[in-house]
């Protein structure tokens, strides 16, 4: 699995150097991840109990939105490009890729891979799979990735994608989990089909209940897909999930309530895996509306939150303090040395006075739909802000309809981000002027200028400088309070083996636990 980056000086430096930085970041991961170091072996049934999964889940790749859909998809599909445990891009259905100018990207399609139905994976299938997310009628959640795409065409055994402007990180976007390669006919994929070219073949699927899959005997990857069978169960109740693991009815669960981690560890029936990643919890403010249009007010709020306390109480210590920075420690250009913001009521008061106010009352709209513990986090925030003369009026909203009626509708709310592997992806989605999910409605001239420039900058140091300046701008002039990075916390039965390095790119080993882990 080598990739041909020779022609693309732009990408070679960017991607290879980034990989080294990430490798170093991996060394500081906690010891609990490094247990169970047996050699992988074939066999066994891997039963996964997830706190997600609805009866409304389906097969359409554009609509996958929860961990259940994501893991189920990773079990049956392959993508063009995979993000490995170190955060590096490795070829999957694209054997290699290259670009001369960052504008025209050529993906060489791997030959000899077949779908579960027996059909060969062809260039046409890849194009149909990409086009499912593109165009006027696309209903995909990642439609905006394809906005800069001018053309997708076949060239022999390669797919050529032309962009309207250079983007050195384009291959990272192509590793998104929505971009499953599915068989196409007449240039379209069938979004109700289970057929894929991934490690496991679907035997049965009841939405919101369970999916059973058997190993694909023709899977092309060596040293992957060790289980004979995978069963993915939706267990929404966190106590039921814990019980299922403790009584041996499943081998892996996600979303462990921080309050129960100590108890689980003491019983010695499971291994807790806690992976620091780029995921973060946020409180975005509407920067167009008073009082949040004044940066002094925003800074006052940023100094009025006790970040350490929040990591301790809301995450049970399984996370890290964030400096209002959407770029996380697992990113390449993470600005680790930025001046930290500690809880400082005097400083908050100072900024409040600078804004011409003695005290401030703002409503904060929260629901646990934003993130687990959001209501408690809001209460903690209100408690500390009171000491700075800021009265946060906590408004508890219903979970149902939260993303419709509260998020990006009310001026000050709670939300979350899964984090992104590349800076450009994160900034373009959540902070660029006019971006669909710019949930603070924030406009910053210098930031937007840097965003476009950094995208096509060839010099690594200059690029790092630009991204660090952007992080500083977001942190000190942005309109989003980002108190913490939450770890991905999961627990496995003691007989599950994992590689030394578990991916920090998304939960459950980048959704790939099904093909990377094994039974000892």
């Amino acid at each position: 699995m080598t990739h041909d980056l020779r022609k693309g000086a732009l990408t070679r430096r960017g991607i290879l150097q980034g990989a080294t930085a990430l490798g170093a970041a991996g060394l500081i991961l906690p010891g609990s991840m490094r247990a169970a170091r047996a050699e992988p072996q074939r066999g066994g049934t891997f039963r996964i109990g997830l706190g997600h999964g609805n009866t409304t889940d389906g097969y359409d790749p554009g609509l996958w939105d929860n961990l259940y859909a994501q893991v189920f998809a990773a079990a049956r599909h392959n993508q063009l490009i995979e993000v490995d445990a170190d955060g590096q891009l490795i070829g999957e259905i694209a054997e290699s890729w290259e670009s001369d100018d960052g504008k025209t990207w050529v993906f060489h399609i791997r030959q000899g891979v077949t779908f579960h139905s027996g059909k060969d994976v062809t260039v046409d299938d890849v194009i149909a799979s990409l086009n499912h997310h593109r165009g006027e009628d696309a209903t995909s959640a990642i439609k905006q990735f394809f906005d800069p795409v001018v053309e997708i065409r076949a060239d022999g055994q390669s797919v050529v994608v032309t962009l309207d402007a250079p983007n050195g990180d384009f291959p990272y976007l192509m590793s998104d989990y929505h971009l499953a390669i599915m068989p196409g006919s007449d240039g379209k994929i069938d979004p109700t089909s289970t057929d894929g070219c991934g490690p496991y073949i679907v035997e049965s699927f009841e939405p919101g209940v369970q999916a059973s899959l058997n190993r694909n005997p023709d899977y092309w990857k060596p040293g992957r897909a060790h289980f004979d069978r995978v069963e993915i169960l939706a267990i929404l109740d966190s106590a039921a999930r814990l019980n299922a693991l403790m009584t041996g009815q499943v081998e892996l669960i996600d979303q462990i309530d921080p309050a129960t981690i100590g108890m689980l560890e003491a019983r010695n029936v499971a291994r807790i895996i806690s992976i620091p990643g780029n995921a973060h919890y946020v409180f975005p403010m509407d920067s167009r509306a008073a009082p949040f249009n004044d940066n002094n007010v925003r800074l006052a709020l940023k100094y009025a939150i006790d970040r350490e306390d929040m990591v301790e109480k809301i995450l049970g210590g399984h996370g890290a303090v964030s400096n209002d920075n959407p770029i996380g420690p697992a990113n390449r250009y993470f600005y680790a040395d930025m001046e930290p913001k500690s809880f400082d009521p005097d400083r908050a008061r100072y900024y409040l006075r600078k804004a011409g106010m003695e005290s401030l009352t703002v409503p904060l709209h929260v629901a646990d739909a934003a993130f687990s513990g959001a209501v408690d986090a809001g209460a903690l925030f209100a408690e500390t802000a009171r000491q700075a003369g800021i009265n946060i009026d906590l408004v508890r909203e219903p979970n149902d309809g939260y993303w419709d009626n509260v998020w990006m509708q009310k001026p000050f709310v709670a939300s979350y981000w899964g984090g992104r592997a590349v800076e450009d992806h994160m900034f373009t989605t959540g902070y660029a002027s006019g971006a669909a999910w710019n949930d603070s409605f924030w406009e910053h001239e210098r930031f937007n200028e840097l965003l476009v420039k950094a995208r096509s900058e060839v010099d690594e140091d200059l690029r790092r400088e630009m991204y660090q300046e952007m992080q500083r701008i977001v942190s000190f002039e942005g309109a989003v309070v980002i108190p913490m990075n939450n770890n991905y916390v999961m627990a496995t039965a003691l007989n599950i083996g994992t590689p030394d390095q578990i991916s920090a790119n998304w939960n459950l080993d980048g959704f790939r636990c099904v093909e990377r882990w094994w039974m000892t």
Binding site: T56, G58, S140, K143
Partner: protein
């Protein structure tokens, strides 16, 4: 007898009307909920363009009355359509879960109804005894705890020690015995929740009759108390007891979503909750009609049975 048949026919016709009204109310109540399927399916990822495109694809851009009419005409032809969220046939989605829900309801009823009747009769027989008080206190305690609490206690005692599974995994190939074993804890939870109501109604109905002159007559004849209760009091007390049992059976079919969640039981309740929160109106409608039918049919059955147990009503017509 003719009167009885006329009553059944009348009640069935009224039932159909009820179902129609229910379908209208549910449809427009769901319309009142904020957001629609397109925006909830896309969730945080929704942008105005993708929501509009999805609405167009799903036909959600049509006015509500038109959509209701379309649904009604195909439903009347027996076609409940496909789930808008995952495009699976609704009949298929519901069939397996309806089977599971009815299985659990009957299982719980098979445990709860005899238990409630026996306890109720014995409590009436030994009125104000220690047994009566203990049975009352026990049943009221069980009904007073929230269902999930009872469920967690049972998991702690009976599942963590390994006697019964805490999670129900019923598949089409499970044998009947396996199903009974796996679904024991949810059935027991529901039994504890519904027994009190039925038991107290049985006790009250019998005690009410025990003051009647004909019971006194029987007692003066020297009959044993048990025979008096079973032979003379119980048949006359059946009507209210049957009604309470019917209401509890309807509850077992329609109201057990909490128990389903705790035991990961794939029943209709969870499907209903998911479909409402995703605004998948076609599925909501189908399940609401099943629930409404359950109430209509069980009430009808209760009335028919009450009539049959009352010779005065039977001989009139």
């Amino acid at each position: 007898m003719a009167a009885l048949i006329r009553m059944i026919a009348q009640r069935l016709a009224l039932g159909v009307l009820t179902l129609f009204i229910v379908s209208v109310v549910i449809f427009f109540a769901t319309e009142l909920l904020p957001g629609d399927l397109a925006s909830t399916l896309l969730g945080q990822a929704a942008t105005p363009e993708t929501v509009a495109a999805l609405r167009r694809q799903l036909g959600l851009d049509l006015p509500a009355p038109v959509r209701y009419w379309n649904w009604l005409t195909s439903a009347l032809q027996g076609d409940f359509g496909v789930s808008l969220a995952n495009r699976r046939p609704i009949a298929e989605l519901i069939a397996a879960r309806l089977g599971n829900t009815i299985f659990l309801a009957l299982y719980a009823a098979a445990l709860a109804v005899p238990l409630a009747l026996i306890l109720g009769i014995l409590a009436a027989l030994w009125r104000n005894s220690v047994f009566d008080r203990a049975a009352n206190a026990g049943a009221l305690t069980a009904i007073s705890f929230p269902e999930f609490f009872v469920a967690y206690i049972l998991v702690l005692w009976l599942a963590q020690s390994g006697y019964f599974p805490s999670m129900v995994r019923i598949s089409p190939v499970s044998t009947f015995g396996e199903k009974l074993y796996m679904a024991f804890l949810p059935a027991l939870t529901l039994t504890l929740v519904v027994t009190a109501h039925m038991m107290r109604m049985t006790r009250a109905a019998i005690i009410n009759l025990m003051a009647q002159p004909y019971i006194e007559m029987a007692r003066l004849k020297g009959m044993s108390p048990l025979r008096i209760v079973l032979r003379h009091a119980l048949p006359n007390a059946l009507a209210p007891i049957i009604n309470v049992i019917a209401i509890n059976l309807a509850y077992l079919i329609t109201g057990v979503v909490v128990v389903e969640v705790v035991f990961v039981y794939p029943g209709l309740g969870q499907l209903m909750v998911d479909s409402v929160s995703k605004r998948d109106i076609a599925v909501v409608q189908a399940i609401a009609l099943i629930f409404a039918s359950a109430y209509v049919l069980l009430n009808l059955t209760a009335d028919v049975l009450s009539t049959l147990t009352n010779p005065r009503l039977m001989s009139k017509g």
